[in-house]
């Protein structure tokens, strides 16, 4: 570089005020402390942020949803070949086509969706078939204790006990907010159990197996709780 001049900071001898350092430390301290208060503050602002995200559509996570997958790509739903197999310890094993599921009695519910990583979507409109009704159709054998849900997305699976599955708002969801489930949300059918964290709700459901002992699910094999009650599991205490 011709000239070779270089910046030399001016140094004043007395009364140097370090506003720069103060700003840096304030930002850093505020940021670090926000680990303690960010979730509560977000809760206060969530009516605003969720309406903003609805306005801006796909620019922001819509209504607060974040999509998690465990494999390379999301399974593709083909209505012609897709079947929901229900078998295991049942008197009448069955295989449902998508149209057969649509023809079953439809239940609607509005419930909150809690993810174990800390985000929540309030007032989600689900529609679908009560899992308890589906269970009645296949007539579980007396020794059946739990249902293992297997996803098209291998090797994702999880399970619920029959008692958990018969909770009144446990649903095999086919619709989300008035529209058929989209691919990211687990088309065509996913499990919804609002009392538990989202990983219990298997997406892209392909098979239900009734078993006599509750097996370990995908995330449970990685250290997450089998009974994933919201606010009472996975290190959370009282919501």
């Amino acid at each position: 570089m011709p000239g070779g001049e270089e910046y030399r900071g001016r140094v004043d001898e007395a009364g140097e005020r370090r506003y720069g350092r103060a700003a840096f430390l304030a930002l850093l301290g505020g940021g670090l402390s926000s680990f303690a208060w960010a979730d509560r503050v977000t809760g206060v602002f969530s009516p605003v942020t969720s309406s903003v995200s609805q306005l801006l559509g796909n620019l922001f996570p819509v209504g607060g949803w974040r999509i998690y997958t465990i494999s390379g790509s999301m399974p593709v739903f083909d209505p012609k070949t897709w079947r929901l197999e229900v078998g295991g310890l049942v008197a009448r094993p069955r295989s449902f086509t998508y149209d057969e599921l649509l023809a079953l009695p439809r239940s609607h519910q509005v419930s909150d969706f809690h993810c174990v990583t800390g985000w929540t979507v309030h007032d989600v409109h689900w529609a679908g078939v009560r899992l308890s009704h589906l269970l009645d159709l296949v007539e579980p054998l007396p020794q059946a204790r739990a249902v293992r849900f297997v996803s098209l997305e291998e090797p994702y699976d999880d399970s619920l006990t029959l008692a958990q599955l018969r909770l009144p708002d446990v649903l095999l969801a086919l619709e989300l907010d008035g529209r058929p489930l989209s691919r990211p949300h687990g088309a065509p059918a996913r499990v919804v159990i609002p009392e538990m964290y989202g990983y219990k709700g298997v997406k892209w459901l392909a098979r239900m197996e009734l078993v006599d002992r509750q097996p370990t699910g995908y995330w449970e094999g990685l250290g997450y709780d089998q009974n994933a009650w919201v606010g009472r599991s996975n290190g959370y205490s009282s919501a």
């Binding site: 910046y7 030399r8 390379g72 990211p184």
Partner: protein, 200 residues
Amino acid sequence: MAIRPPERSRRVLRWNRTERALHWVHAGAFCVLLGSGLCLYLPSLAEAVSRRPLLKDIHLYTAAAWAGALVLVVALGDRRSLRRTVRELDRLDPDGRMNRGQQLNTIATAAFAILFAVSGFLLWYGERDTRFRFASTLLVHDWLMYASLVLFLGHLYYALVLPSTRHSLSGMTRGWVREDWAERRHPRWVAALRSGDRPT
């Protein structure tokens, strides 16, 4: 009529090699992290780009490479000049190379970098040890992204678009700026250069 060729304008060194390396390491990593992060985060992009494990790997390895490269630049570079820059920022020096806004932008970027690293590490480690999973970690990482995006877009506007300021890009690519530009944009800096003050 002969047209006299314009005089080659005089140049002033604004950013030396170490400072430029630090800037571009951070800028490059930021762009890759922002791109891969948004593909994981935004529903429309997440659906279009379905190779999530690959994107997650890109995000994680870029973060690690970013931290490693910063340490290398500081370890191998001209630390005296970096200390000088830190001193300018510390005092919000009105005779410095940067104006007040640029100084504050640099300070915020540095603070955000640390917060990104802490929250990102917790997101990564929380998948391995559930005791380190906190409800706020994801939110902190999200908010930092939005705040940084605003700073980043403003920075790009001044460095690439606004005619009166975009010559500053030369300082960060080639190291020097035209003296007449520096006199217009940063008169106190040029005056301080001429008065020949030296740091103690």
